[in-house]
Symmetry: C2
Subunit: 464 residues, 2 copies
């Protein structure tokens, strides 16, 4: 009943200002598509800087570049927020082969998982035991695993329409596979890349040894999907074959890095903060154009588009370019820690971290009342083919801000091609389409505009 | 009132069979995504055959290949429908340059428009007059146009969310530009490529001289978007520069070709025909993967998926692979002509000819009553993120079938990247994503299933 009343009240206020909202959103989309800056910024991040793994020279270059660009936008304030981040380095390229008989070998493409230990200098060579997931380990037991390389080969489920659901269904093999296999005496693990295509790119990503003591940690690598199919077929023909791999990666001490932050002060409620962001770090294999260069440049363009459209926000809009989402989430945690220590009032946070593809909508992590309000805006987005307003997750970096009353949201682009590129050498600039990227920026800007104008807080005050 | 009643009746029948429809559609999507054939067929069409311009050896190879593949599916009948098609040949590659002073030239990428005449052997060189569309010709008049090359430079409007709308807004420059400019004494035309990106690919496409006598026809070429920008800038600096181009294309006599047709006979209403199709011919510059290899292989997979799902259609489902959509529409016209001469009862026709990208929905050319019925199925498509059910055009090839009572539909994939590739050298296999293609095939199959099961005709009988 209360929800119904709120919806009704909102519907009335909507009708009165419909034309103004339509006009403002059209102006935002038109500007994004004709004079958007996101693509140029992404070109620089991707092609002049490249992969930006936390603690790398490139990550620092990205901090400086985006700070300079935000400075040039005439925001009210731009600053760096220091944060200590892990520094893991891949070292010389990895090398692997399947040995069907002594001297008869076939090379396969692998890459170390982020955070993995190196192999010994001479590499490791051992028999392989293929499993369809971590659950299989217990059934096999130490007897069948000890001294071997465990090969996790559960693929992403192609029948999931959302490829993120397919990813969720097998990423624990990558994240926890080494820690779990180590308990049964495995000496290394190889994980099928989280990729729905058959190709030659190994896909890296974060992994954790949990509480495994340092001396018991075993090296972990991803193998390309074609390599995984070859290995699996070879094992079916002869379970006694050997697999060899060598990797040279290393974990260094934490180093100082930064979240890059800029803001436009709100005219009426300066203490009510809306965050829009993506993560500035990326994996090292590609240039991180989709993950998450796209989210970074879209978020930057949100503030630029708001200013350029002449709209004067009532609330403070803050762009946050988070450091270290990929292998630590230190930036997201630090931002939330500082916000809480300063007792800042965050009312909304929006993250773009699902690729620079055609936007389809948003997912929201919020109350039913707030979601009902959001759904009231759906009609305004229809001309832009934005149709997906769902309850669900938002984004990793803004997650630590989560608090009762705060609305969290994530941009939801079309997901079909995302895992073709995710964490792999082919996450590169030429796979981002300019218009798709710009439509995402315009869609985010429109949501920020609507939240600023109607404010979730207003409803709460009405209720209060 | 009548519409409301129909909707209500349909809604009730929907509720009763919802679970079965949901199950059937899930089976269709699962099969398309795990054992779809569309991508393999496209691989062959694109990489073993390539561009399939009407009258070419490749077009004939495509006829034979698809006929063989349809034969292998165990359909009730597969046949070729003869049709005479135009044969236009590009000849040796085109060549063009901007001459800022005698001897100082910059090459620019061009291609002849389909159907254009050649230049003289030595090419043509002349001053250039830039216009923003055909409307400008009258203002300029013969005095300023005579003896010059007309340069049509109106770009696609980037603020149109549907890129097809942007295409509609300037394609008349390509289609009628030569005929119109010729009336004012122009000696050739250059058209900015119908492409929203800035790149180096010229995009060909059909053009017509209308009733221009043969001896008065002037050569017509497309220039890449980057080439167009360079030419425009150069003209601003010095309107007296020359443009040179040479092309060697030729129109031959019509040759015999074929529509490729296969069908599954309906169990209950074999005389009610539902057509699903795309066009087998393509332009010659790329391999025609998006335009319209994708539509061809999706349409073929519709019949395969229907059979593989175990569903026994009540009505006849016919796949038609139309010849010569690009430069004549002879196949579409022939199919309709034969259908009418045989007094065949077509109840539905669905075309896929907008690229192999993530499907978003369908557009329908039909009565309000039939559209209301279609909208009742919307909910069934939601799990597959198919959200766009609009009234509008369907497809060029099925257009000639149009008749009162016949429902025409077109698959509507995401359009953002389509004109990056359309009619250009980069319309190639690697730009088609397997999942996106398969989702399109499943979406089409699901619609065919629903039309077969509920039949627009049933409503008409109820009304009668």
């Amino acid at each position: 009943m209360r929800i119904t009343l709120l919806i009704t009240l909102f519907a009335i206020s909507s009708i009165f200002s419909q034309t103004e909202d339509e006009r403002q959103m059209k102006a935002i989309y038109d500007m994004a598509l004709t004079e958007g800056k996101a693509y140029d910024w992404l070109n620089y991040l991707s092609n002049q800087i490249g992969g930006r793994l936390s603690g790398s020279v490139q990550a620092q270059q990205a901090v400086e570049y985006t700070q300079n660009q935000l400075d040039s936008l005439g925001l009210d304030r731009v600053w760096l927020q220091p944060v200590m981040v892990p520094k893991w380095v891949r070292g010389t390229p990895e090398f692997a082969y399947i040995e069907t008989k002594p001297g008869l070998t076939t090379n396969v493409p692998i890459c170390a998982l982020g955070g993995s230990v190196a192999t010994p200098d001479v590499g490791i060579k051992a028999n392989v035991i293929e499993v369809n997931g971590i659950e299989d380990l217990e059934k096999l037991g130490s007897e069948k695993i000890k001294g071997k390389i465990v090969f996790y080969n559960r693929p992403m489920d192609p029948t999931e329409i959302s490829t993120f659901s397919a990813y969720s269904g097998c990423v624990n093999q990558r994240y926890s596979g080494a820690a779990e296999a180590g308990k049964y005496g495995a000496i290394g693990i190889i994980v099928r890349s989280m990729n729905l295509r058959l190709d030659d790119y190994p896909h890296t990503g974060s992994m954790s040894y949990g509480d495994t003591p340092v001396q018991n940690r075993i090296p972990a690598a991803a193998i390309s999907t074609k390599g995984a199919d070859l290995l699996s077929t070879t094992l079916q023909l002869n379970p006694e074959i050997n697999f060899y791999f060598k990797q040279n990666c290393k974990q260094f001490d934490d180093v100082e890095s930064y979240n890059v932050i800029g803001e436009i002060k709100g005219s009426t409620y300066p203490n009510e903060i809306m965050v829009v962001g993506g993560h500035l770090d990326s994996w090292d294999l590609g240039d991180g154009s989709h993950d998450d260069g796209a989210g970074v440049v879209q978020s930057m363009d949100v503030l630029r588009l708001i200013k350029a459209s002449g709209y004067q926000p009532q609330r403070t809009i803050r762009v946050v370019l988070f450091m270290n989402e990929e292998n630590g989430l230190r930036g997201g945690n630090k931002y939330a820690e500082v916000a809480k220590s300063k007792n800042e009032n965050h009312v909304f946070a929006l993250e773009s971290d699902a690729g620079g593809f055609t936007p389809r909508g948003f997912s929201f992590d919020c109350s039913d009342e707030d979601f009902a309000q959001v759904e009231g805006w759906k009609k305004l987005f229809e001309p832009y083919l934005i149709h997906m307003f769902i309850k669900g997750g938002s984004g990793a970096d803004i997650g630590p801000l989560k608090d009762e009353g705060l609305v969290l949201a994530g941009l939801r682009p079309d997901s079909q091609r995302y895992f073709d590129h995710h964490h792999a050498e082919n996450d590169t600039f030429e796979h981002v389409n300019k218009r798709e990227l710009e439509l995402g920026a315009a869609t985010m800007t429109s949501l920020i505009y609507l939240v600023d104008k109607y404010g979730f807080g207003v409803q709460k005050k009405v209720k209060g």
